[in-house]
Subunit: 159 residues, 6 copies
C-alpha cells in the first residue's frame, strides 16, 4: 500500500484542490494532505482555519487526513512512510516550477517520487489568489470552492 | 493494489523511459508498458523489436510487463483493470500536449487518471528521435539508452 | 460596423470552434468563417464537407457566413472589408505561433488586426486532430463536436 | 456599437499600451481605459497621475476615455454596458495568466468576452517595470513611452 | 581567437538569420555558417542555392564563411576547431528544443558550448516557412529577407 | 579579444552559476562577473559576502574577475569595454524574461549583445532561492553549491 503526500498552502482550498486529492485517494492507499505552516506570502486564513476547511471538505474520504508541516517535505514524507508526492498542475508554468521542486526532492531523498495530476478543465483557471481577490470585491465564488470555504470568505468580507 | 499503464511508441526506448517505468513500478502494484502498434510517424524499429528491447531492459522488474495496443488507451486500461496512466514528461511543452490527452481520456472514462512524472535531469534532453539522429550519424549514445538498444542501433547503422 | 474573419481548417469543426465564432458574432457586426482550401496536412473532410458542417452548426447565427479561401488571409479580408481576424487559442503554444501570423499580417496590411479569444475551459483540450483520432478508434466524441460532425465521423468510421 | 474596456495599472503607460488602445479604438465603437486604483504592487505614479498621463497620450482618439476602477472588472463593464475586455499580450506567459482572468470573468458574467491583442514587435519587450528601472538609473526611454511619460519620469529621477 | 559555427537549414535565409550571424561575427574571431545538406523537411531551395543566397547576403563580413554539413555538428566543429555553436532563438519554444540539442552536443563533445542569441524584435516573427508561404501566395516579403532571397522567391513563384 | 559580463545577484552562487562562468571563460578573453548591489529582493548575503563567495569559487580562472554594480548594465559594460553579456538560462521562462532585458539593452547600446547559455542538466533545477530554502530547513545542499557557499549557509542556519 503506497502512501502519498499532497502538499500546499491551501489559502483557501478550492474545488481544484479537492478534486486532485479525491483522485489521488482513489489510487493510493493513504493520502496525507500537508498544509504549509508558513507559506512565503502571509496567508489570509490561519493554519488552523486552513486545516479545518480541508477537513470539512474531505470528510467523505476514508483514507485522507490533514496535517501541517513546517520544514522539508522529504522529512515529513519519511516520518509518514510516504513514497509519493502528488501535486496538481493548473497551467504549464506550474509544471516548470514544480519539476524543480521534484528534482530537488529526489536529490534529498532518492526514494521519494513526485506525481503530477492535471487540474480538471473546470478548475484549471481557479487559483486560491484569484478566488480571494474576487471574493474580496464581492463577486460570487460559490461554484469554485467547497461550501465551507465560500462561507468563510463571506464572513471575512462582511467583517 | 493499483495497476498502471505506461504508454508510448518507444522507438527506441531510452534510459529516460526505463527510469520512469522503474519509478512507477516502485509505487504501483503492477505496471503495464503499452507500446503503440502504429505510431503517427513510421517507426525505425518494428513493433516486435520495440517490445523485445523493452522486455530486455525491464527484466529486473517483477511487476512490469510489456504489450502492444492499437486503439484507445482507455479500452486497454479497462481490459487490464488499470486505473492510472503514467507518463514521463521531459519538457514543459510535453505537459501542454499530454494534459489534453489526459483530459480527453477522463471524458472517455471518468475513473482513469493520468499521473505525470518528470524525467530525471540526466535524461530530460534524451528523446528517441534525437537518439536515432545521433546514432544514424555515428555518434555514441551508449550512455543514453539501455545496452540492448545501443547494440540494435549499431547493427542498423552498420547494415 | 466592424467585420471580422475567423480563419481555420476546421477538419472537422469542434464545439470549441463554434463557441468562439458564436462569441465573436456577439461583438462584431459580421463574421466571415474562412475555411482553408488546402491546409498543410491532407484533410479528412473535403472543403465542401467542412463548409457544410460549419453551415449546419452555425445556422442559428444571423451575422455569420462561411466561405473558403486559398491564398493570403489579408487579401480575403480586404475583399470583404474585414478589419479584424478572430482566432481562438486553446493552449499557450497556440499563442506563440498565432502571434507570428498576426505580426506578419500586420506587415502585409497595417489596418488588419488580430484578436485572440481563449477557448472555454470545457473545450480547451478538444483539438480537431484528437477528435479524429478518438473517433477513428470508436470512442464517443458526441459531447465534443456539433451533432452533424459527430454523425459525419460515425459514417466515416463505419465505411 | 460595441463598447470595450482596456484595463491595466498603467504605471506608467508605455508606447505598447497606447498602440493596443489605438488599435482597439479602430474596431470598437467606444473604448474605456480603466486604470486600477489599487494595484497589487505600490505604484510609482498616483492614480491621478496615471489617468492624466493616459489622457495626454490618447487625446487624438475621439472614442476613447479614461477612468479608474476599484473592484471587479465585470461590475465596471456592466455599468458602462461594455461587452468586451481588450488586453494586450506581450509574451506567452502573459497569455497563461490572462486566460485565467478571462475565464473567471466569464464565470462572473457570461456575456463579457475578453479579446487579446499581441503587442507590436517593437513594443513586446517594453514593460512598465522595465521602463521604470531603466529611467531610475538614468537610461533613455524616450523612444519607448509617450512624451508626457518620458517627462514625468525625468522629473521623478531629478527630484 | 574563438571560432563559432552557426548551423541551420536556411531555406531560405531571412533578415533574422543575417542579423544573428552579423552579431556573432562582431564577437567571435571567425564564424562558419553551416548549412544542413539534408534537412528533415524537403527544402524549397537546393543546397547550392541556399549556400549562394547566404554568401550573397554575407559578402560584407570578412570573418564569415559558408559551408554545408551532413552529419553531426560536433564533428564539423571539431574539423574547424570551433568551440562555440551560435543559435538564434525567435520564440520561447525554440529555446526548449535547442537546449536539448545543446545538452546532447555537450555529451558528444564536452568542449563544445552553445550560445543563444535572441532574434531582434523586428525579425522574431519571421520564420523561413512563413516567408515561403507568404511569397507563394504573392505577398510581399521584401522587407523581411535579403534582396537576393526576395528575387529568388519571385522567380520561383513566377515559374 | 572579446570581454564579457556575467551579471546576477548570486545570493548565493550555485554550481550552476559557476559552471556557466567557467564555460564563458573558455570562449571569451575576459569575463567580468557583475554582482547586483541592490537586487529587488532583500538578499540573504551582503554584497561583500556574495563577492567573496564568488571570488573563492572562481580562483582557478585566470581571466575572470568579480565586481559589483549598481546602475545600468550597459554603463558597466561600456566602462569595461565589454561587448557581450552572458546569461545562464535554467528554464524556458527564464528565456522569456531575459530576452526582454536583452532587447532593452540593445536599445540602450546597439553594440552590446546578450548570449544565453543553457544550464547543464545537473544544475538546471538549482536556483539560489531553492537552495536557501532547503538549507534553512537543514537539508543538505553540499552537492549543489561551491564548498564556501555550503559552509556559509551552514554558519547562517546555526546562528
Amino acid at each position: 500500500m503506497t502512501a502519498a503526500v499532497c502538499p500546499g498552502s491551501f489559502d483557501p482550498p478550492t474545488n481544484g484542490h479537492i478534486d486532485v486529492i479525491e483522485r489521488a485517494a482513489r489510487h493510493f492507499g493513504e493520502v496525507l494532505v500537508a498544509v504549509t505552516a508558513n507559506p512565503s506570502k502571509k496567508p489570509l486564513f490561519s493554519l488552523e482555519e486552513r486545516i479545518e476547511l480541508l477537513q470539512g471538505a474531505l470528510s467523505h474520504l476514508d483514507n485522507a487526513s490533514v496535517s501541517s508541516f513546517d520544514g522539508l517535505l522529504v522529512d515529513l514524507a519519511r516520518e509518514h512512510a510516504a513514497t509519493v508526492i502528488v501535486k496538481g498542475l493548473r497551467v504549464p508554468s506550474d509544471f516548470e516550477y514544480e519539476v524543480q521542486m521534484a528534482q530537488m526532492n529526489q536529490v534529498l531523498n532518492r526514494g521519494l517520487d513526485t506525481m503530477f495530476m492535471a487540474a480538471s478543465p473546470s478548475w484549471a483557471f481557479v487559483s486560491s489568489s484569484l478566488v480571494k481577490e474576487v471574493a474580496h470585491h464581492g463577486g460570487s465564488i460559490d461554484e469554485l470552492v467547497p461550501q465551507g470555504v465560500s462561507e468563510a470568505l463571506r464572513r471575512l468580507s462582511e467583517s
